[in-house]
């Protein structure tokens, strides 16, 4: 880690420590705090200057930090990533914005060939403290290439770290922690949740970056106090935009007397599955939820690891609720394509009935 800035205040005054923020505003404030804390932090991307990015995540940053620190780059993702590598070698900490998930691929070569491997190739002499921010996932009624979930490609690539935030507090803190990290971090932002609000404490990070978090356990759920006997409980694991779906499913299941534990992965590479194993040992059942296609994916990896670590605790096979193994469909079909409350509960029912 670079200079520990984990507990720095988001702005200055203590009285505004807890604020209700959207994910988008929290990211914006997190980026601002990182730029204030370290003059080597740069923003690079298409339309991130005057426009503030198409989602306004960098709103106001160019105005306050200047064109040398917030770069409206030419329109080329390979250029953005490739030059960020050079800047990082030179001592900067670039934060690249990819406008939409589907536009990361012109930069894919630079990411897998240089970003991921340089530290290894130079035996640690070159560090690459860069962040690649990617608004990802569907549900916004967009045209092609604007709704994809490409995270597994990067989790599959050694040398990259991959995280995803699901709420404003994590948005605010995780982006700063990612910028502080000396390894390159792919930072996946749940674009359809950008405008969801929650209180954020800007004085203290809730925990380290590369840890998953238990959001709901059987004992502290709505019908607290009831036992979690087998057949009545299951574990839900998700990340990013699917956390909202998992929590809604847990609330709905609680009404029917089923206890669902919910774990937000937060880090997709390296995976932090300890809390998942603990939960599965309690519930005996696991449903993994992701918008990404299922073949050879993060959800496959979780299923493989859980069956290996929790083999004797499992009462049912690990089930997955994911996007289908097709291109992302025309948006009128995305409701069918995306995992929703019903599909998650259906999988829970199947698991319970196994």
């Amino acid at each position: 880690m670079a200079a520990p800035t984990m507990n720095r205040a988001g702005s200055d005054s203590g009285d505004s420590a807890v604020q209700t923020l959207t994910i988008s505003k929290a990211l914006n404030m997190g980026l601002r705090a990182a730029m204030e804390a370290n003059p080597k932090v740069l923003m690079m991307g298409e339309d991130i200057g005057k426009l503030g990015g198409v989602f306004r995540i960098t709103d106001g940053l160019q105005k306050d930090f200047g064109e040398q620190r917030v770069l409206d780059t030419p329109l080329a993702e390979s250029g953005i990533i490739g030059t960020a590598v050079g800047l990082a070698i030179r001592g900067y900490r670039p934060v690249c914005e990819i406008q939409f998930d589907g536009f990361i691929f012109p930069g894919f070569d630079q990411i897998v060939s240089q970003v991921a491997k340089l530290h290894y190739r130079t035996q640690g002499k070159n560090k690459l403290p860069m962040v690649i921010r990617v608004p990802f996932g569907g549900g916004i009624g967009a045209v092609e290439h604007h709704s994809e979930s490409p995270e597994s490609y990067f989790a599959h690539t050694a040398g990259l770290k991959v995280v995803s935030c699901s709420n404003p507090t994590d948005a605010y803190w995780m982006i700063q922690q990612a910028i502080d990290c000396d390894d390159p971090v792919l930072f996946f932002e749940p674009k359809r949740r950008y405008y969801e609000k929650a209180p954020v404490d800007t004085t203290k990070a809730p925990g380290p970056l590369f840890e998953s978090r238990v959001l709901r356990t059987a004992s502290n759920s709505a019908s607290a106090g009831t036992s979690t006997s087998a057949g009545q409980a299951a574990t839900l694991v998700g990340y990013g935009p699917m956390i909202r779906v998992c929590l809604d499913a847990a609330n709905a299941a609680a009404e029917d007397g089923t206890e669902l534990e919910v774990i937000d992965l937060r880090t997709l590479s390296p995976l932090d599955l300890g809390p998942v194993y603990d939960s599965v040992r309690r519930t005996g059942r696991l449903v993994v939820v992701s918008e990404a296609p299922s073949e050879s994916s993060i959800t496959s990896e979780i299923a493989a690891k859980v069956q290996q670590e929790c083999f004797y605790s499992l009462q049912a096979p690990v089930l997955r609720v994911t996007g289908f193994d097709t291109p992302y469909p025309p948006s009128k079909l995305e409701e069918e394509f995306l995992p929703d409350l019903d599909r998650v509960l259906h999988a829970v029912d199947r698991s319970l009935a196994w």
């Binding site: 426009l51 409206d72 030419p74 390979s78 536009f103 967009a142 079909l333």
Partner: protein, 398 residues
């Protein structure tokens, strides 16, 4: 007509680009930015005032009927564009990508093509689509979210819209290489390909690679860059120090800048370029100098990054108005003609509206259809499982 060799060595009109100063704020406001500085090489045949002017290398014989046809094309496609924009505002489309201001560039280029030529559009090419015989209703599904383009790209020789900036340029290059390998190049009956992209796209590696490939394989390809001055919020000088058409020189083929708001000049220059390609003298780059008069898309807010003065200036260079003025001056059209075009465009708008609101949603099985040419048993199992699940809802079992 001049030989391509001559066009490979145009002298830059002004000071070497490497020393070109950044435009001042006033220049930006006036729409006179670095890419337009002192450049006398803009081909124009019809001034914004509707005056026919001569150009030493390009001229065009145009009949009254032909010019009325071009006028009609532009009015109708503008009406389609405005109607689709309104349909988005009413929630009938998820998004719309306006072509407002680029009618002459697209109709001029599109009408220069022959049925056997192939076209690779980006996503704003509604005017090109029109000239390829695609009914505007076929564009709506992309923006309503029911499909990804419903025309047959083989039949119309009009590739699907490509949204990933620059991708189609390499695809077009390969197609043109195929035309050459098939022996379709070498005389006046030859085939050619046109590829459409924006000023922003010229920064993408794919576009540069397309330039290299097309040059190395003498591909019969016209690179048609619509420089509408903006790539969302970034002005063209974010992408280049040099006027874009001058880039061609570095790759070894001709580059020409045409007034993209002048349908006659665009038609003349594109015809010439296609003819050169048919004969085997391709590729050629055309930069159509024009202006995006509306937002980037209906999701965009241009007031955040450009001044309305710029728009006001470009309104004086409107591509349709100058043709109208010329038709009237020449007494090539009377009020009855203009009235009939007005009525036709109104009828087209009604048709578009009715078609749009009645478009059915696609069935769930469409998600899984046509992923592979030869099928995939794993995917088919996934499809069957999902359809059974959906069926369960329909039967009220869940």
């Amino acid at each position: 007509m001049s030989s391509p060799e001559q066009w490979t060595h145009p002298e830059p009109a002004s000071a070497p680009a490497a020393t070109a100063a950044k435009p001042t704020a006033e220049q930006v406001i006036a729409g006179l930015r670095a890419t337009d500085q002192g450049d006398v090489n803009l081909v124009q045949l019809l001034t914004p005032e509707g005056e026919r002017v001569q150009h030493p290398d390009f001229d065009i014989d145009i009949t009254a009927e032909e010019l009325r046809g071009l006028y009609r094309d532009m009015v109708l496609i503008r009406r389609v564009d405005r109607e689709a924009n309104a349909l988005q505002r009413k929630g009938q489309l998820g998004i719309w990508v306006p072509l407002l201001g680029q009618e002459a560039a697209q109709i001029g280029a599109g009408r220069a093509m022959r049925p056997d030529d192939m076209a690779f559009p980006s996503y704003r090419e509604h005017g090109i689509a029109w000239t390829r015989g695609i009914h505007p209703t076929d564009l709506l599904g992309i923006f309503r979210g029911t499909d990804m383009g419903s025309w047959d790209p083989v039949e119309h020789k009009f590739h699907p819209y490509t949204i990933v900036i620059g991708n189609q340029v390499l695809n077009a290059t390969g197609y043109a290489m195929g035309q050459k390998f098939d022996g379709k190049v070498g005389d006046a009956d030859g085939e050619a390909t046109m590829c459409f992209f924006g000023d922003g796209a010229t920064s993408q590696g794919d576009v540069h690679e397309g330039f290299v490939w097309a040059a190395v394989y003498d591909a019969p390809l016209v690179f048609f860059c619509q420089n509408n001055q903006w790539a969302i919020s970034e002005p063209t000088e974010r992408q280049s120090r040099l006027p874009l058409y001058q880039r061609a020189r570095g790759y070894g083929f001709p580059g020409i800048r045409v007034d993209g708001n002048d349908v006659l000049a665009t038609l003349a220059v594109t015809r010439w370029a296609l003819e050169e390609c048919r004969q085997g003298n391709g590729p050629i780059l055309i930069e159509a100098f024009t202006y995006r008069m509306d937002a980037h898309t209906t999701s965009d807010d241009p007031s955040r990054y450009r001044l309305s003065d710029e728009l006001e200036l470009w309104k004086l260079k409107d591509p349709i108005e100058r043709v109208k003025v010329h038709l009237v001056k020449q007494q090539w059209a009377d009020s009855a003609f203009f009235e009939s075009i007005e009525q036709e465009s109104e009828a087209l708008a009604v048709e578009l509206r009715e078609f749009c609101v009645n478009m059915p949603d696609p069935p769930p099985e469409r998600i899984f259809a046509n992923v592979y040419a030869e099928g995939n048993p794993v995917l088919e199992a996934q499809r069957d499982e999902f359809l059974a699940y959906v069926e369960g809802f329909a039967g009220g079992e869940h």
